[in-house]
């Protein structure tokens, strides 16, 4: 079964024929070629596939593509400005050692963005809660917390 859906993807209006069993992750990565969103487990356990759907951070590996009909989706590809300037969160992850192998990074950054958009003054505890579903094997999390906190100072909640 194929269904036609429409949604906003990083500000662009998209219309797409999707198979009913496709996940949002499959649609983004395999069909649309947006490789920035990663698959770490395919089972809702690692957060590497996090994207923002209508302001909420979700695991795109568990989300059916047909469910995004009528929503606004943000992925890691949509964060930097068109002139190439990184989003404050991207910049602070770079500057504070929040990125080593980088496989968790798109998901971490998207979860952080959803948090700061909603709660621009999130404290360390709230950051920990928001990132609890995003696994990182490289950094020990400390540089990631610092990255989010530094982005907060830079006004990380703004576009």
């Amino acid at each position: 079964m194929t269904t036609n859906i429409s949604f906003l993807l990083n500000g662009d209006e998209i219309s797409y024929d999707v198979k009913d069993h496709w996940t949002l992750l499959h649609l983004l990565r395999e069909e649309m070629g947006l490789i920035g969103t990663k698959e770490g487990c395919g089972n809702g356990e690692c957060g590497a596939c996090t994207v923002i759907v209508d302001k909420l951070a979700v695991n795109s590996c568990l989300y059916l593509a047909i469910e995004v009909d009528g929503t606004a989706i943000e992925t890691i590809e949509g964060l930097a400005s068109t002139d190439g300037t990184l989003h404050p969160l991207q910049q602070s992850f770079v500057d504070n050692g929040g990125i080593q192998c980088g496989f968790c990074s798109p998901g971490m950054i998207m979860s952080s963005k959803a948090l700061l958009d909603e709660n621009p003054n999130a404290n360390r505890e709230e950051i920990k809660q928001a990132l609890a579903g995003n696994i990182c094997r490289c950094t020990g999390y400390i540089p990631i917390f610092k990255s989010v906190e530094a982005a907060k100072e830079m006004g990380g909640q703004n576009e």
């Binding site: 992850f93 192998c101 809660q129 490289c138 400390i142």
Partner: protein, 758 residues
């Protein structure tokens, strides 16, 4: 302190922006025209004979291009340290992860469906899962033709006279420690894409830490396939975490090659998470018997250790980890008389490989737990006890390790300063200390411990450096760039580091043994020095000044003490290039450290230098639940020189948290050979919620052989973590847990036993 311009700076990882934007391409992201998808079918039993395989239904499925079984694998195509393991088995399976068939199809879904259509008849055999039982005389054999489950390995040494030293000791302690399977959990799963060109040369994109050795393995596979005199090109995409998991070539790579050849199309093989848990190698589980003693002043007299390692169903490089275990056993703290023997024993469990520390975490867990026990028995403060026995520069250990720089004492001091060991009176709160030694200047395990680098400068003052070294997220790209920039008076952005392709990068033995900063760093430095010399010679003619008086700084070339005589480096390069008889400035350097292979006597200076460190933990133990909370953690490391403190801290934090998982939560649960928790819900990694406050003091000892004084730091962060925690738990509530991970259940059981004894 020395006056550096680029070395020592917190320069963000060079590829971080690409990664932050989601543009970095990992193996998962590689798509080639006409690409097929490969999948592997694994054994249903831990130990069985394969009676019959029927692949006809799978072959008939539309979209399937090839189905292979063990019968299709050339006789000589074998993997592992003793080349005893074919990438697809035939006749007999010896563990659940044994490959029994593989398919290539036009989509991953069809490939999966095809696997379901393969019919296999097995005859199940009794399995053996306990290595100590597998050593018993009448135990069933995992590989009958070998006549024994115990591998023939040389791990049996005696330095000095342990028996005599024991008799002369004032205090002796003895115990048994055990560790279990843990796994790397790289966030990017394993994978490879293989393809042949029209002349049957192979290109393979693969997540490897050993591009040059992998190239050799793949050449051997081609040879076994009857493809002689062919070329193999290994391309590394961006790697989603290594930690030792990519230090060998694996079945999925060889199977991708076989399938690509069978179909004459590119074949992509990428693991899903369940497969990653079940079919990649773990850290070796160990049973350790340790006995050590000291005299009445607390000076160590001897150390006697015996280990049994679960080798699993096949032999991988894991069987060589005792060579690294020997290092802390013989050389962590000064001790003259040392005995060590290790037996690697086949079982029908999964098999192990390299994982961050390469045996050192297991050995250090036993040694440092036992150090605390001995200190207590001798009635000496545990910190003082370690200081009495600390290593020092200039020492040669019984194994023949030559300690050239040693900041162990400073590390212990730094931990003591941060943690205040003895002033916690709160109930259930305690502190613990543990130290480490690790190779920090290469490790000669193969014939060569070298790394090559090729450096070229363009007409504008920019550098491309092609290194044999591998970046897998740890930051070798930065280290290389910062070293080259420092030497040539440039900034790190001026340096493009290429480390991804055996067609253009020189040989390197691999990203293992925390050797890349030291060895690949020295290779890059050597090449930079050669180019610098050429620049100085050229400028010397230009400025009519001796070459020694030419300095390079801030992208300028100038004469010492006469800074008006100067030229931007780009201009000088163009002058050199566009003059009659012109030249381009390029150089290559192959650095092979002057370290030694241990040989049969298991003696020799295997590394040019050694890294030291001390970890301190403050924990709170809930005596109702047995739960251990880490309140504070200090990890002090002697790194020689911090080339980039930002990345260095990242290595330490990441290492410590991996070590905390090893200490407290991580365990691959294996039941009769079968892995029961192949997912992140049941395999408990530390998450953001569990994150711990970590301080990471850096001790710089300016190693005489390290590039700008640096030593390796990739592995040390996770080496002494488990004993630091175990010692802190003992200090807090008086129970000693000798089996990892230290789960609440084990703590509770020990607390109960303690009350019963009272």
């Amino acid at each position: 302190m020395s006056n550096f311009n680029v070395v020592g700076k917190r320069i963000p990882k060079l590829d971080a922006a690409q990664k932050a934007m989601g543009r970095a391409a990992y193996i998962q992201d590689i798509k080639l025209p006409q690409m097929l998808y490969g999948k592997i079918l694994y054994s249903k039993y831990a130990n069985a004979n394969i009676v019959k395989i029927d692949t006809s239904k799978a072959k008939a499925l539309a979209g399937v291009h090839a189905v292979l079984t063990g019968e299709d694998v050339p006789e000589k195509m074998k993997m592992g340290f003793i080349k005893d393991n074919p990438p697809i088995k035939k006749g007999r399976v010896s563990c659940f992860r044994d490959e029994v068939a593989a398919v290539a199809a036009i989509s991953p879904e069809i490939a999966k469906k095809a696997l379901d259509l393969i019919e296999i008849e097995y005859e199940e055999l009794e399995g053996i899962f306990d290595p100590e039982k597998a050593m018993e005389k009448d135990s069933p054999l995992v590989h009958e033709h070998l006549k024994s489950n115990v591998l023939k390995m040389p791990w049996d040494v005696h330095y000095g006279d342990v028996e005599k030293a024991e008799k002369e000791s004032a205090f002796v302690v003895e115990d048994r420690f055990t560790t279990t399977w843990v796994t790397h959990c790289c966030m990017g799963t394993s994978g490879a894409v293989a393809l042949f060109d029209a002349s049957e040369n192979l290109t393979i994109y693969t997540n490897t830490q050993i591009p040059s050795l992998a190239q050799k393995d793949f050449l051997e596979s081609l040879k076994a396939m009857g493809l002689k005199n062919k070329r193999v090109r290994v391309i590394k995409p961006i790697i989603g975490g290594g930690f030792g998991s990519k230090l060998d070539t694996y079945a999925y790579e060889h199977v991708a090659i076989l399938l690509a050849y069978a179909c004459r199309k590119p074949v992509k093989m990428v693991f899903d998470r369940v497969e990653e848990f079940k079919a990649t190698s773990t850290r070796q589980p160990t049973v350790t018997y340790i006995k050590q003693g000291c005299d009445k002043n607390g000076k160590l007299t001897f150390r006697d250790m015996r280990m049994v390692l679960d080798n699993g169903g096949h032999t991988s490089w894991g069987a060589t980890t005792p060579s690294v275990m020997l290092m802390p056993i013989s050389s962590l703290y000064s001790v003259k008389n040392v005995k060590y023997s290790a037996k690697c024993v086949y079982t029908n469990n999964t098999y192990s490989q390299a994982m961050r520390g390469y045996g050192n975490p297991q050995a250090t867990f036993a040694i440092e737990s036992s150090m605390d026990m001995l200190a207590e028995k001798a009635g000496i403060d545990r910190i003082k006890f370690r200081k009495i026995n600390q290593n020092h520069a200039g020492e040669e250990t019984p194994q023949g390790l030559k300690i050239t720089s040693c900041g162990l004492a400073e590390c212990i001091d730094a931990v003591e300063k941060e943690l205040h060991f003895n002033d916690n009176n709160e109930k259930g709160v305690g502190t613990g200390l543990a130290s480490l030694i690790h190779v920090g200047g290469g490790a000669r395990i193969y014939g060569s411990d070298g790394c090559g680098a090729i450096l070229k400068m363009d007409d504008y003052g920019k550098v491309d450096i092609f290194t044999g070294g591998t970046d897998m997220g740890q930051g070798l790209d930065n280290i290389t760039a910062q070293i080259v920039a420092e030497e040539l008076g440039l900034s790190a952005e001026d340096i493009n580091v290429v480390h991804s392709d055996t067609d253009i990068c020189p040989w390197d033995v691999g990203a293992h043994a925390s050797r890349s900063t030291f060895v690949a760093g020295n290779a890059a430095l050597g090449a930079a020095k050669k180019v610098k010399k050429k620049i100085q010679d050229f400028a010397s003619k230009l400025f009519e000044t001796p070459a020694e008086e030419i300095e390079l700084k801030d992208k300028m070339v100038f004469v010492t003490g006469n800074p008006e005589k100067n030229m931007p480096i780009g201009k000088l390069l163009r002058k050199a290039h566009f003059s009659p008889g012109g030249t381009m400035l390029m150089a290559e350097h192959f650095y092979d450290p002057d370290n030694q292979n241990m040989g049969k006597e298991l003696k020799g200076n295997m590394s040019m230098t050694y890294s030291f460190g001390a970890h301190g933990a403050k924990v709170k133990v809930d005596e109702e639940t047995g739960k251990v909370e880490v309140l504070e953690y200090v990890a002090a490391h002697d790194v020689g020189r911090a080339i980039n403190p930002l990345l260095l801290e990242g290595q330490v934090y990441g290492g410590v948290v991996m070590g905390l998982g090893y200490a407290l939560t991580e365990e691959v649960t294996v039941k009769n050979g079968e892995i029961m928790n192949a997912n992140f819900r049941d395999y408990k990694l530390f998450t953001a919620k569990d994150a711990v406050k970590i301080k990471a003091p850096v001790i710089e000892t300016d190693d005489k052989d390290g590039p700008f004084g640096a030593k390796g730091i990739g592995e040390p962060g996770c080496v002494p973590t488990a004993p630091a925690i175990a010692n802190a738990i003992y200090n807090a509530v008086g129970v000693r847990i000798k089996d990892l991970p230290i789960t609440p259940e084990k703590v509770l059981a020990a607390l109960k036993e303690k009350t019963v004894k009272k």
